[in-house]
């Protein structure tokens, strides 16, 4: 396993500003692919961060040469899919197709990215649907709790900040075709364009196709957005979001940690949090769920650490309204215990073998592979990093882990957020 990825992934740059990472596997006939360009919300004009998400939403609504039904027909008649997503940093796409249809699908992808048709009428119906989806998120206890937590932890325009649902609706409503066209013209292009594929695929075929399809495309954004904002100095805030007629409450306990994934303490801290709540055999699931039966699910993780962002850690759980306070108390007790005494060598060793094994199990399908390879590339890491990762984990010492818990975790300063229907 030591050189598994670096030996199998073929890295190339068929066009300047377009990097490819292609991994042939033993899968038969199927190919999954993923890609991204630096065109996410952070590159929208400051007055309206939703413009980029509407650009992404319009990419499957026709091109200069094909209307939206022709586009869909090309894909659906061969059972293929291409989906576009907008994130803080990226326009991302994922797709799959059968081996024999790769040519058709990649040609269409290029056309969608390079020559989208931005019709007023289409924008109007897309906005209607997006607003409908946003209205629906108002009844989603987990989403509303997370939005509230991120608004407490981060200031506006920080990549980890979240807009309220009403604000998003307001911004989506105001986007015009002119703004979409302008943003696409200004920021889409070659530069920070990464493309990964896995499955029954030849790297030469992919590179040849992409070179042909993206030849002559203009330059886009080359380097990730440089962050100049930090998390708020928030301490022990408490927020409750009432949502009627809900039988389960979503709770977050969270805190900004002030480090990104390049920081030397990142992996030791992540390991510490994995021991606390990374999987079913972690402490929180074993105590709050398995012993006490207070929740169906509880977990803890580090997020928001990409591209220099000062990330956060949070613990998330669901509780029946009548069990919320008891659940919260027990969760906080476990966090305090973990903070005061640290983790044990036995726990660290067990989680090291978990992560190494999980890595191996992740090779089972092509879908996971394309995404993992892309994520590594987006971070600016070489493919060797995918092989080094288990080694990085193996080399983490108990001392490093317990030191980072003390350094970054402040149990008394955790922000508490809950959303749902509260007991009287």
């Amino acid at each position: 396993m030591s050189n598994y990825f670096s030996e199998k992934i073929v890295v190339d740059e068929p066009q300047t500003g377009l990097s490819t990472f292609v991994m042939p596997t033993g899968a038969k006939d199927v190919i999954t692919f993923a890609g991204s360009l630096l065109c996410g919300s952070l590159y929208s004009p400051k007055k309206n961060s939703e413009i980029s998400s509407l650009v992404a939403g319009m990419l499957d609504k026709g091109t200069n040469n094909k209307d939206k039904f022709e586009v869909s027909d090309i894909l659906e008649s061969v059972g293929a899919e291409i989906n576009f997503f907008n994130t803080a940093h990226h326009l991302q796409f994922t797709g799959y197709c059968l081996k024999n249809d790769l040519d058709t699908v990649l040609c269409l992808l290029a056309e969608q990215l390079r020559e989208p048709l931005f019709w007023d009428e289409e924008l109007s119906t897309l906005k209607k649907r997006l607003i409908g989806n946003l209205e629906r998120t108002k009844e989603d206890t987990k989403k509303q709790a997370l939005i509230t937590l991120l608004r407490e932890l981060y200031p506006p325009h920080h990549p980890n900040h979240a807009l309220t649902t009403d604000k998003k609706i307001e911004l989506v409503s105001s986007v015009s075709t002119k703004e979409i066209k302008a943003l696409h013209k200004n920021i889409y292009g070659l530069g920070g364009f990464n493309f990964s594929a896995a499955g029954d695929v030849s790297p030469d075929t992919i590179n040849h196709l992409l070179k042909e399809q993206f030849s002559g495309w203009k330059e886009g954004i080359k380097k990730p957005y440089q962050l100049d904002l930090k998390a708020r100095p928030v301490k022990a805030k408490e927020r409750r979001m009432p949502i009627p007629d809900k039988q389960s409450i979503d709770m977050y306990l969270g805190q900004a940690i002030g480090l990104d994934r390049q920081h030397k303490d990142y992996y030791p801290l992540r390991m510490a949090i994995y021991v606390l709540g990374g999987n079913f055999s972690a402490r929180l699931m074993q105590t709050v769920r398995d012993d006490a039966g207070l929740t169906y699910g509880i977990g803890s993780s580090v997020l928001g650490t990409n591209f220099g962002s000062d990330g956060y850690w949070s613990t998330w759980a669901t509780f029946a309204p009548a069990l919320l306070e008891k659940g919260r108390e027990m969760t906080q007790d476990q966090i305090k215990k973990w903070h005061n005494k640290g983790i044990t060598k036995k726990e660290l060793d067990a989680k090291k073998t978990t992560i190494t094994g999980t890595y191996q199990v992740g090779l089972d399908s092509t879908g996971g592979l394309a995404g993992r390879i892309l994520s590594n590339a987006e971070q600016g890491e070489k493919t060797e990093h995918l092989d080094e990762y288990p080694e990085i984990i193996k080399n983490i010492s108990l001392e490093m882990v317990n030191k980072t818990i003390k350094k970054y975790i402040k149990p008394k300063e955790l922000t508490f957020v809950a959303a749902g229907t509260f007991a009287d």
């Binding site: 008649s77 607003i131 007629d245 039988q247 929740t295 999980t358 399908s365």
Partner: protein, 433 residues
Amino acid sequence: MPPKNKKKEPGFKFIKASGGIEEYRLESNNLRILTLQEHSAPVATFMVTYHVGSRNEAIGYTGATHLLEHLMFKGSKKFNKEKNTAIWSELQNVGAQINATTWNDRTNYFEVVPSEHLERAIAIEADRMRHAFLKDEDRQPEMTVVRNEFERGENSPFDVLDKNIWATAYQAHPYHHSTIGWRSDIENVSTKRLQEFYNMYYWPNNATATIIGDFEKKRALALIKKYFGVHPSSQHTIPEMYTEEPEQEGPRRIIVKRGGQTGIVGIGHKTPKGLNKDTYALQVLGKILTEGKVSRLYKRIVDPGLATSLFMYDFPFKDCGMFISYVFLTPETDHSSVEEIVLKEYRQIIKEGIKQKDLNRAKAQIKANVAFSRDGSYAVASALNEAIAIGDWTFYSTFMDHIIKVSRKDVQRAAEKYLTEDQSTTGWFVPQN
């Protein structure tokens, strides 16, 4: 078909092969074994499917199959917390993906493991097949865990509507209740009842063990024999569920009013048993109606902005099922206009049939789905599990062969036969602000 001698394994009887999958019976206890070797990644999936699901429950113990599935993780004779060999840590500590699921017709336990740890997965599943603890002191906290799972489902307007449509469409047959069960049954079912359930159904002769991925067949079968061979087959006959749903004699309708933001319309029609030949035409029909942006209902409803999304499902079950289309409305759209558009499309297909182009597209979509259902050992296990559940695992391996044969007339005839008003159950979720 490989030569016969390749399939001779001591202690096992070879039954049949299809699509690369081989079926054996462990002669000592009649455990069925399915194998599919695929060495593209150093990963294997082991799964045990018990032929028991929520269709085997009745009033007072709905949700028992699922609650029992949870208790199966609380420990068994060799794998438990006291011995420091708890099931979760034994498997997760080597990086395995481990879980279990319960549905109408089956309960399955699975482990996706680095190949070298396959034996551990087999040993654990064999031990808990007959030696699970099922203690009352474990049921108490696990009941509230499952109740929270139920409560989380109740948070979702779609889940609530779906439960209500099934409960309205099916009155006598146990598909009436969802697999999670009714809240009061989850809270009150006794440990004794769960133990009886376990002792009735958890036997090698009522289970299928499946091994897929990177393993050596001879050794894997030897491990199956070593660990599962210690169990006898049941002394009793596994009881058959015999309740049949009486014929529906008119359309049914249900409205759910709860706090929420946007409406949902669900229209269900009863379908035949999963192994009925019409299942293939109905699968094609479902794709034509709702799969993709050129599907008929997407073009009529989502594309003009009347809904944010839509989908349909028609899962083949052991007994009769349901062809249900769900539409998630945009804020200004009224339920009745969308309901009428869906029914109009149904009527049009019944009257005029479908175009060859639509049929070809649906088949291409299914072909890709089938290819991706072979992408990885877990994907295969997951799809195969549902075929095992309905009573014939070759439903999985021969599915595409049957789909290819579906004609335009077959689709029209299936629509005419099943999408009738008298067989329909329509549900609306009406949000209360």
